[in-house]
């Protein structure tokens, strides 16, 4: 959501204050309050490191030596194995400028098709669904403050009270206004406890719930026929799917009471309703269809394209929105252009001054990219920036083996992350407060982070690194080492594109407390476009589209050997793969070690006590972590946070089954078992 904050430095050191910014209005969680611990952190990387042979130790070298080495290895590997043998892996935490420059670097300097990013693990399903249903993907089609103005908010798969607490104030305001909150989650999370209705569904059954709700809406005539007729296409096909349920279906598939679902459906039909999703519903092999299923419900009820109504997705990563707009994705070019669209290609090639034939086509998605290592047409070298993929990828054991078999791994990071430990070359980066740059939050609001602190000697901006490497690949004149010049180019290149930034300037961002895309020049004065779809959706005919989607179950169902559902998520005090937050003392004090949550009824039977170390395993791997007993979880389900490394790495268990549309892995459910250790 991006909380505004001010940093101050005095003789006593750093201090921090929450800013009265439109998103957080002075609120902040402990990740914000403790973030200054990352400034002047003793573990920061301060010199490039090279490991000259596999298994050897790192040696600090000069930047020139490191970059010369990387460039010569890239060139050598590409000349032997072809251009696509070098891959680039970005991150949703990178600024817009870096995301843009990295995408351009891959296509223009390396001329490889193979770039993707960790947002594939995060936003890809919601993005794909938004594009299909509405013709555009912006997290929320409305500003966050609109949440407080709705009558009912239907939140599926989000634990925002833990993952982005300051956003709760908008939900508090909603409730003060008499609005209702409905939360869908297999766990009784702190967010679920805020809800008026909590639907504690079976993991991985969200799409069945969506279709059941559509069926109820049709049966009870809770549909807006005029809206369907004038602003949408494809209702008949979706309605047909809704006819495929039966008495007992909801209990069978979702594990919740049908009458409760009926009440919720009626509540949503009544007034202004918002449907908000997050990873809990999206990180599934049917994540895209799940989101489309709920969009079907919203469209059938006429709850879209009007103020205080609509579907939106809540972004977790720092720049989860902006990071997916400017060309880090394997199938995409800046401004949310499509890499296979001939017109889009021509526009971008023209801006970049490259010939159309030279511009690569679509590359491999994140999971396929990593899987391709060691395969005949696979990558042999990889540069990662802002991503700790041996922690964050599904089936992490296999990913580690793949990474270890690369000819060359280059990692840009602040710290010696678990992925950096496997690298041949580590390039130290600057962090958030040490350089300026823009980010785009879930509202499509482009924000600016200012430089407040000096970087440690030896760390460099990733933009500088990109330019310096491009120089060595003979393309140095096409890149800029600073954010402002890079942003000016991003503005020019996105002009006329779906995510149009052309009217957004650093000065305008300061003036408006952030500016919303799309923002062509004529919108600059108003701060961009706050609300999308009020007159038309983004498909050429202006209509939103229903998609017939159906629930087929999970990629892996529990069985006798692995009888439980296993699901993963975030916890309050940590963030993503933990590269940063696991290095903050105050955060580790409350959540320093991994754990697994299980229901007391299950624990009793297995004779597992609160606090003991247990072994949780799936067909792919095992972790040994502390058991936490809580009746907030279903007795058939285990939960573990995914921030941790080593024996606590939850992604050792997860299944790399992919959503066929978004290529999102099924992080949120697989089959597992739990046992006592040793004894």
């Amino acid at each position: 959501m991006q909380c505004g904050m001010n940093l101050n430095h005095t003789h006593e050191g750093w201090s921090i204050e929450a800013r009265d910014f439109p998103t957080n209005r002075g609120g902040m969680c402990r990740k914000g309050w403790t973030s200054i611990a990352l400034l002047e952190h003793p573990e920061r990387l301060t010199a490039p490191l090279i490991r000259r042979e596999k298994g050897g130790s790192f040696e600090a070298v000069s930047w020139d030596e490191a970059l010369d080495f990387v460039a010569s290895r890239f060139i050598a590997i590409q000349s032997e194995q072809g251009r696509d043998s070098v891959g680039v892996f970005g991150g949703g935490g990178l600024t817009n400028e870096k995301a843009y420059a990295l995408g351009k670097f891959a296509r223009v300097a390396l001329k490889t098709a193979n770039i993707d990013y960790n947002g594939r693990y995060c936003m890809a399903s919601a993005a794909a669904a938004g594009l299909r249903a509405y013709g555009i993907d912006r997290g929320l089609p409305f500003p966050m403050q609109d949440i407080a103005g709705a009558d009912t908010v239907f939140l599926f798969g989000s634990n925002l009270a833990e993952t982005m607490p300051p956003i709760v104030q908008w939900f508090d305001e909603l409730k003060e206004n008499g609005g209702k909150l409905i939360v869908v989650d297999p766990r009784e999370t702190p967010t679920a406890r805020l809800a008026d209705v909590h639907l504690q569904i079976t993991p991985g059954s969200d799409l069945a719930l969506a279709n059941a709700m559509l069926s109820i809406a049709v049966e009870e005539n809770l549909i807006d026929e005029e809206f369907i007729a004038t602003r949408t296409n494809g209702f008949e096909c979706a309605r047909e799917v809704a006819g495929r349920i039966w008495n007992g279906y909801i209990e069978w598939a979702c594990g919740i009471d049908e009458e409760q679902v009926r009440e919720v459906t009626r509540m949503l039909f009544e007034g202004n309703s918002m449907f908000l999703s997050a990873r809990g519903a999206e990180q599934h092999a049917n994540g895209t269809e799940t989101v489309m299923g709920f969009i079907n419900v919203a469209l059938a009820m006429g709850k879209a394209g009007k103020t205080f109504n609509g579907y939106g997705t809540l972004t977790g990563q720092g720049n989860g929105q902006g990071g997916r707009e400017h060309g880090q994705k394997c199938d995409q070019l800046p401004g949310y252009r499509k890499i296979l669209d001939p017109i889009h290609r021509a526009e971008v090639a023209d801006h970049w001054g490259v010939s159309l034939d030279e511009l690569p086509g679509a590359g491999k998605n994140a999971v396929d990219l990593l899987n391709s290592i060691g395969e005949p047409d696979g990558i042999r070298a990889l540069w990662t920036m802002g991503s700790n993929l041996v922690i964050s990828s599904p089936n992490a054991n296999r990913v580690r083996q793949k990474i270890e078999s690369l000819d060359l791994l280059v990692v840009s990071d602040l710290f010696m992350s678990e992925t950096a430990q496997l690298a041949d070359v580590v390039l130290p980066s600057m962090q958030w407060a040490e350089e300026e740059g823009t980010m785009t939050n879930l509202e499509g609001r482009v924000l600016k982070r200012n430089r407040a602190a000096a970087a440690p000697e030896g760390a460099r901006s990733d933009l500088w690194t990109i330019q310096a490497l491009a120089e060595r690949l003979g393309q140095g004149d096409k890149f800029f080492p600073d954010a402002r010049t890079t942003f000016d180019e991003l503005r020019r290149v996105t002009k006329g594109a779906p995510a149009d930034y052309s009217g957004i300037s650093y000065e305008g961002i300061d003036q408006h407390d952030g500016m919303f895309w799309p923002c062509p020049d004529e919108q600059a004065e108003n701060g961009g476009t706050q609300r999308l779809f009020l007159d038309r959706f983004a498909h050429p005919d202006g209509r939103a589209v229903f998609h017939p989607v159906e629930w087929w179950g999970r990629a892996e169902e529990p069985d006798e050997q692995y009888p439980l559902f296993f699901t993963t998520g975030r916890t309050m005090a940590q963030y993503q793969s933990g590269t940063q937050t696991r290095r903050v003392k105050e955060l580790n004090a409350v959540a320093g070690r991994a754990w697994v949550e299980l229901h007391p009824d299950l624990a009793l039977e297995l004779n597992i006590e609160h606090g003991e170390i247990v072994r949780v395993s799936s067909r792919r791997g095992a972790i040994e972590v502390e058991a936490r007993l809580t009746d907030a979880i279903r007795p058939d389900t285990l939960f573990a946070p995914f921030h941790y490394a080593g024996q606590g790495c939850a992604n050792l268990l997860t299944i790399p089954a992919l959503d066929p549309i978004s290529k999102m892995p099924e992080f949120k459910v697989c089959a597992a078992k739990i046992e006592k250790v040793g004894v």
Binding site: E240, R244, I245, D257, E258, P635, D636
Partner: protein, 480 residues
């Protein structure tokens, strides 16, 4: 576009039966990429696309339109490149030649065959089913297809007294549908317990009482021996010598698997077409059976969930997604709403010796709840009148999870103790976002913090999601 060679490489898959199992399998196979492997043809005896048979009673009682229960329209089959032969009945399977012959004389070849022939209504042997011309008497119906539904609805409008033979799930569903058409409705049942496959005697009695309160006459322990009337049905005669007048009769005495086609082709049949865990018909690598016509480990299921579970396994296997997927049997549950009376039945309704039984009964309100427990696992449950816990119980049954020691929580939502902030121990966390304990807050108040704002500024509590601000207020008040 596939080249000529890939088209040739595709196998021909024929599905006989376009009902709940056949259409579901077909859709799941396509969703899992099966169309890349197979050219699919599906044969349905009924005209039109596939529809949701379970919702027929909704159509009969008018709560849904016939069109609204269509699950896969003709257009759906066309869009997915599936050849649907609607209204064409397969009359013969030649296993050796791998051909199917239809009632239109068409012969088609297959490489793989899925039998999803379903079942039909059981018409028990009794006198007076037919009029003198050998046709079935007017006013006698079964309720199995959309066409049946039409006929029943049309006739019911003119009828004054309708009777349903069979007090099981299907019979009560039919009675529910008939009520809507103005006729006086009666239900006749052989045994002394309605829905005896799903209910025990106590709940059966309670259900009967409620049905009667709503104006349905329930006649138990009545074995129907004959249908009265010459050309038209005029009533029923029972073994005990009594009679019941009615001008229309709906037979809901159960279902019979459609196994004749398979049997005539030489496949092993028993009650149903026998299949193994791969859903393969005995002794034939490329022939499969799913749904109500299939018999797996001695079980023939008459419900949707098992049919869909079988369809899933077969689609996983044939699509190549998981060629080793196995079907190991289904756990059955039913849920029904009859004229506002809700009931759910999970697993077995009757306990065996040594089982733990927990019951709750409130006859005056028509509420009854029963659990049958073995080895701390749910073996069966009945919920009548209040079915809110059906979902939780069904999941506990389906996944065989251990049950809570406090059995009452399986019947009721038992509220948790309310937390009074004043009683919080010092080490309890008040602000989850910023990890501030009650002790820290008390100490800060002790040191002079007198307002919520000061507490927030000094401790950071309440600066995240803000939901603990009321607790801060309460702590300040407790102090004052």
């Amino acid at each position: 576009m596939g080249s000529a060679t890939t088209v040739e490489m595709k196998q021909r898959l024929a599905i006989i039966g376009n009902g709940m199992a056949g259409a579901r399998f077909c859709a799941e196979l396509v969703a899992r990429g099966g169309a890349d492997r197979f050219d699919i043809t599906i044969f349905g005896e009924e005209p039109g696309g596939a529809y949701n048979r379970i919702l027929l009673s909704d159509v009969l009682n008018g709560s849904r339109e016939a069109g609204a229960i269509e699950t896969h329209s003709l257009d759906w089959f066309a869009r997915n490149n599936i050849t649907l032969r609607a209204g064409e009945k397969i009359t013969f399977i030649d296993r050796d030649e791998k051909t199917l012959t239809s009632d239109r004389g068409r012969i088609s070849h297959y490489d793989s065959l899925v039998l999803a022939t379903g079942s039909r209504a059981l018409v028990p042997p009794m006198d007076g089913l037919h009029s003198s011309d050998g046709e079935r008497k007017k006013g006698i119906f079964v309720l199995r297809t959309l066409a049946d539904c039409d006929r029943v609805a049309n006739y019911a409008r003119k009828a004054t007294r309708a009777v349903v033979v069979g007090g099981g799930l299907l019979g009560l569903e039919a009675a529910r549908g008939l009520m809507q058409h103005g006729a006086q409705v009666g239900v006749v049942h052989r045994s002394g317990c309605l829905m005896s496959a799903q209910l025990d005697q106590s709940s059966g009695d309670m259900l009967r009482h409620q049905m009667e309160m709503m104006g349905i006459n329930v006649h138990l322990n009545k074995a129907t021996t004959a249908i009265l009337g010459d050309e038209c049905a005029q009533g029923l005669a029972f073994r005990d010598g009594t009679e019941l007048r009615a001008d229309m009769v709906v037979l809901a005495c159960g279902i019979v698997p459609n196994i004749e086609l398979a049997r005539d082709a030489g496949f092993e049949v028993n009650k149903g077409i026998e299949v193994d865990d791969a859903l393969r018909v005995q002794g034939d690598e490329n022939t499969f059976a799913i749904g109500e016509c299939a018999e797996h480990q001695g079980q023939v299921y008459g419900l949707v969930a098992p049919a869909w579970e079988q369809a899933r396994v077969l689609a996983l296997r044939l699509s190549g997604h998981s060629p080793d997927a196995l079907y190991t049997g289904s756990k059955t549950s039913t849920k029904l709403k009859v004229m506002g009376v809700e009931l759910a039945s999970i697993g077995t309704p009757r306990e065996a010796e040594g089982d733990e039984v927990v019951t709750y009964a409130e006859p005056s309100k028509g509420r009854y709840k029963k659990l049958i427990i073995r080895d701390n696992r749910l073996k069966g449950a009945i919920l009548l009148g209040d079915v809110r816990k059906a979902a939780v119980l069904q999941q506990a049954f389906d996944r065989s999870t251990p049950l809570p020691d406090e059995r009452a929580t399986l019947f009721f939502d038992i509220g948790r103790a309310t937390n009074d902030i004043a009683d919080f121990p010092d080490d309890a966390t008040v602000c989850n976002c910023n990890g501030v304990s009650a002790g820290t807050l008390r100490a800060t108040i002790q040191e002079g913090a007198a307002s919520v704002e000061t507490l927030m500024a000094q401790t950071k509590a309440g600066t995240g999601c803000g939901t603990c601000k009321s607790s801060l207020k309460a702590l300040l008040a407790a102090k004052g």
